[in-house]
């Protein structure tokens, strides 16, 4: 018998037999093959988080080595070339290999759980996105390990990045690695957009989505539009270096400033890409510890989108010192100052949520609340540099370094650590240790501020960024020593976090399904969640499905215990983008090696291009094409081709 083309899904309560059936459908293979072929968003999410954290630690170690070099004047721990590679690799690591991937990890893990769904919309794309990220990270670090790391700062200005001044492989590793990483970011972003639009639980209309959707969705749309700019810039740079083109070469009517435009058209929106999802995590989790819903949900959601839209139009504020026309600078300065408004909306919403709530002081809460302070400090110093004459004074000084660390550590690392404390129980079934958590929090908070608050002054007193040492008697000695001490205290805090993770994994208190009394759907299922997440598909009736009895906003309740069973094959439900009305039953793909093999092929192409081994690049291309054809070949089970598959015989009686 052929399987039905239309179906009325069975509605029912949960049962042990039903769960066993779902487990047999959704559980991946054990062993190495299962590890390499999994498309489970939870496994991929955790891989993202672990990998990104390893890069955070690597970038941190690089920073510590630099701080030892800068602890006093005229130190000779590092040569200038080593220092160049260290600060460039540090920037590349933190900004590209840590800051977004860690947030992608959280969104990957959490989105289907927040949405009452069983996986991301495009699970194999999800696996591809991770593997390529890993490959790009290894590719770029391979350069660093053979002494050919990037050496021109993370924004890599020409002409110093061009071949005449930089003949080694350093810039080629960086350029090609960034193009490779761009593939990962882009396919990941596409997956987030489709997932947000099409796979939310029935009833989760656009006015009821968890606030976290807005951060990652906004960032993902931005990524689709701006990542091509940087991929193109790095590709053109590689062409200039290796094939004698003249995009950035002033001698032949090229333009060094073209690099800066393309780079910052990408990189300023990127700054929002790496903070908006983190801010959204704070908006999601902070209210749980205030025991009340977020104040001004709609204002926060709209200001997230507004920040991004304005964020597309501020890139030139990185270029105020390049001699652009005054009118252009005035426009970009105005836009940069205007962006304070939507940012302030979020700050006041969080403050009001704490003020009007009854805060429960946990480590997670402390990370989220302290993030507000750091955000304000980083925001004000950003606001200062948005003004052209002030920027002329401060640009390329340590003031900018202080600013960008307040933004990136304050609005990315602090929310991420808070989110770890908050969601670790969901991921592992165990709570993190709170006592160790306090030590962890205070060491990171004090260490961070000790390191970076005085650095504003270092910059105001004239110390340029990116110098490998400085003379005695400039008045910078004490400040630099304080920063170095602060950096090590911060590192100690992060080390305690790692200790806490391993300790809690082994002996943390059992969390149960909902240790925090939270409002969103992920807390309605066991910790850690089973492979199918939700054994029945919930129906959502409000923004706070688990707080409805407490808030009593309406008489209608979300349905958590009754709903569609969807257990005839590996299935979940697709809903309409705005109203979240059920639209079709999705047949989800099984585990697949195609994403990994495609990644291997693509990586070989890039290695071939780097070394100009065209046959290797060709072999990589063949592997990649074969993997793509296998991947995209229409499958009966996924209902991508005729004839319809055989109907599964249902043994379990429903009802």
């Amino acid at each position: 018998m052929k399987a039905a083309v239309f179906r009325t899904p069975h509605i029912g309560p949960d049962s042990v037999a039903h769960q066993a059936r779902l487990l047999s459908l959704w559980e991946g293979e054990p062993g190495l093959k299962g590890f390499l072929s999994t498309v489970d968003h939870k496994k991929i999410g955790i891989r993202y988080i672990v990998t990104a954290f390893v890069f955070l630690v690597l970038g941190g170690v690089e920073a510590l080595i630099m701080r030892l070099q800068l602890a006093g004047p005229n130190r000779t721990l590092l040569t200038p070339e080593q220092y160049d590679q260290l600060f460039s690799t540090h920037g590349m690591t933190m900004i590209f290999l840590y800051a977004l991937p860690i947030l992608s990890g959280f969104s990957n893990y959490l989105w289907p759980l927040l949405f009452g769904s069983r996986d991301m919309a495009l699970p194999r794309v999800n696996a591809l996105s991770y593997w390529i990220y890993l490959a790009a990270g290894l590719f770029m670090y391979a350069g660093f390990l053979i002494g050919a790391g990037p050496n021109d700062g993370w924004f890599n200005y020409v002409p110093y990045a061009s071949r005449d001044y930089n003949p080694g492989l350093n810039e080629d590793f960086y350029s090609l690695g960034m193009v490779l990483l761009g593939i990962s970011t882009t396919v990941g972003a596409a997956n987030f957009v489709v997932t947000a639009m099409r796979t939310r639980a029935p009833g989760m209309s656009i006015n009821r989505v968890p606030i976290m959707l807005w951060g990652t969705l906004t960032a993902s749309v931005a990524n689709l539009l701006v990542v091509p700019a940087v991929s193109l810039a790095f590709f053109l740079l590689w062409m200039d270096r290796q094939f004698g083109t003249h995009f950035f070469d002033h001698q032949q009517a090229g333009q060094p400033l073209l690099w800066q435009h393309l780079f910052w058209m990408f990189a300023h929106p990127w700054v929002y890409v790496v903070v908006l999802p983190a801010m959204a995590m704070v908006s999601e989790a902070l209210p749980v510890f205030c025991r009340r819903p977020l104040v001004g949900y709609w204002l926060v959601a709209l200001s997230t989108v507004a920040t991004m839209i304005l964020g597309f139009g501020v890139w030139v504020h990185h270029m105020f010192a390049t001699g652009l026309p005054g009118l252009g600078m005035a426009f970009f300065s105005g836009a940069s100052i205007l962006i304070v408004l939507p940012s302030a909306v979020a700050v006041f919403a969080w403050l009001a949520t704490i003020w009007l709530g009854r805060p429960v002081i946990t480590t997670a809460f402390m990370y989220f609340a302290s993030m507000i302070v750091l955000f304000v400090i980083g925001g004000v110093s950003g606001f200062m540099t948005a003004s052209v004459p002030v920027d002329w004074q401060l640009t390329d000084s340590y003031f900018v370094v202080a600013h960008l660390h307040y933004v990136l550590i304050g609005i990315n690392v602090f929310p991420v650590l808070g989110a770890m404390y908050y969601w670790f129980p969901k991921m592992t079934g165990r709570l993190m240790d709170e006592r160790l958590g306090r030590w962890n929090f205070w060491l990171t908070f004090l260490g961070f501020n000790l390191a970076f608050l005085p650095m504003h002054l270092t910059g105001l007193w004239g110390m340029p960024r990116r110098i490998y040492t400085y003379q005695d008697g400039m008045g910078w000695n004490t400040l630099n020593m304080i920063t170095t001490i602060g950096a090590f205290v911060l590192a100690l805090g992060v080390l305690l976090f790692v200790v806490n993770v391993f300790k809690s994994l082994k002996s943390g208190a059992h969390a149960g399904a909902d240790p925090w009394g939270a409002a969103t759907l992920e807390w309605s299922i066991p910790s850690p969640p089973p492979p199918y997440n939700f054994s029945i598909i919930p129906t959502v009736a409000s923004q706070h499905p688990l707080w409805e009895d407490r808030l009593e906003e309406s008489r209608v309740r979300s349905s958590i215990d009754q709903g569609m069973l969807l257990d005839e094959s590996k299935e979940m439900i697709a809903t309409t983008p705005l109203d979240a009305q059920p639209d079709m039953i999705l047949e989800m793909p099984e585990d697949s090696l195609a994403p990994l093999i495609l990644t291997i092929g693509t990586s070989l192409i890039f290695v071939g291009l780097l070394l100009k081994l065209w046959s290797l690049a060709g072999a990589g291309a063949v592997i990649a094409i074969v993997a793509l054809v296998v991947w995209l070949w229409p499958q009966r089970e996924l209902r991508e081709r005729e004839p319809e598959p055989q109907a599964p015989h249902t043994e379990v009686a429903h009802g």
Partner: protein, 207 residues
């Protein structure tokens, strides 16, 4: 009690489709995402052209400048190939496999001719990649487009094979609709490249 007055919302849809119907499926959304990001890529390429052209000294566009003699018919051919691919998609909808094969195959052949003419134009340029920023942009931008044509031809070849294997029906044809949509994109984006490189010098830009 308030509890007694509450009601539980259970969504229980009737007779909803299983799997993608027509072009209605997540893969189609995926292709739109690809198109959005690729369109952005071409926007940055063309931005580079206008930016360099606007800041360069006079005479930036190298002579002989691109002519319309071959490129205009070639452009029309590429646009017509989009129509032919659409006819192929209609063939699936009408359950006429011959028409579908003819449409998809026809679009493939027209795409190949377009690529050959482009290659010929490359060969006849008196300057190479490294002559100036203009020549670099010309070869890289048209090269990017040519690479997209080649990918599109690969897609059309796959669609042709699958149609020949009788995989598709009006209901199950997501791959056809998504692939043809991509081909439309490859053709549409050429119009922007064409206008920039072949028409704008006649309007005085960069000359």
């Amino acid at each position: 009690m308030a509890e007694a007055a509450t009601q539980i919302a259970i969504c229980s849809p009737r007779d909803i489709p299983v799997g993608p119907v027509g072009r209605h499926g997540l893969g189609y959304w995926g292709i739109w995402m690809v198109i959005a990001t690729e369109a952005a890529l071409f926007a940055y390429l063309l931005f580079s052209y206008y930016y360099l052209g606007a800041t360069a000294p006079r005479g930036w566009v190298l002579e002989p400048r691109p002519t319309l003699k071959l490129s205009l018919p070639d452009t029309i051919l590429l646009l017509l190939s989009s129509v032919v691919a659409w006819v192929g998609e209609r063939g699936i909808l009408d359950r006429r496999r011959g028409k579908a094969l003819l449409g998809i195959g026809g679009a493939f052949v027209m795409g190949v001719i377009f690529a050959i003419v482009q290659g010929d134009e490359w060969r006849n340029k008196p300057f190479g990649l490294g002559e100036s920023s203009y020549s670099s942009l010309y070869f890289v931008t048209t090269g990017f487009h040519l690479a997209h044509v080649v990918v599109g031809l690969g897609v059309l070849a796959a669609l042709f094979t699958w149609t020949a294997l009788d995989y598709f029906s009006p209901r199950r044809r997501l791959a056809i609709s998504a692939g043809v949509l991509y081909w439309h994109f490859v053709d549409a984006v050429w119009l922007f490249v064409f206008f920039t490189y072949y028409v704008s010098p006649y309007l005085g830009f960069g000359t």
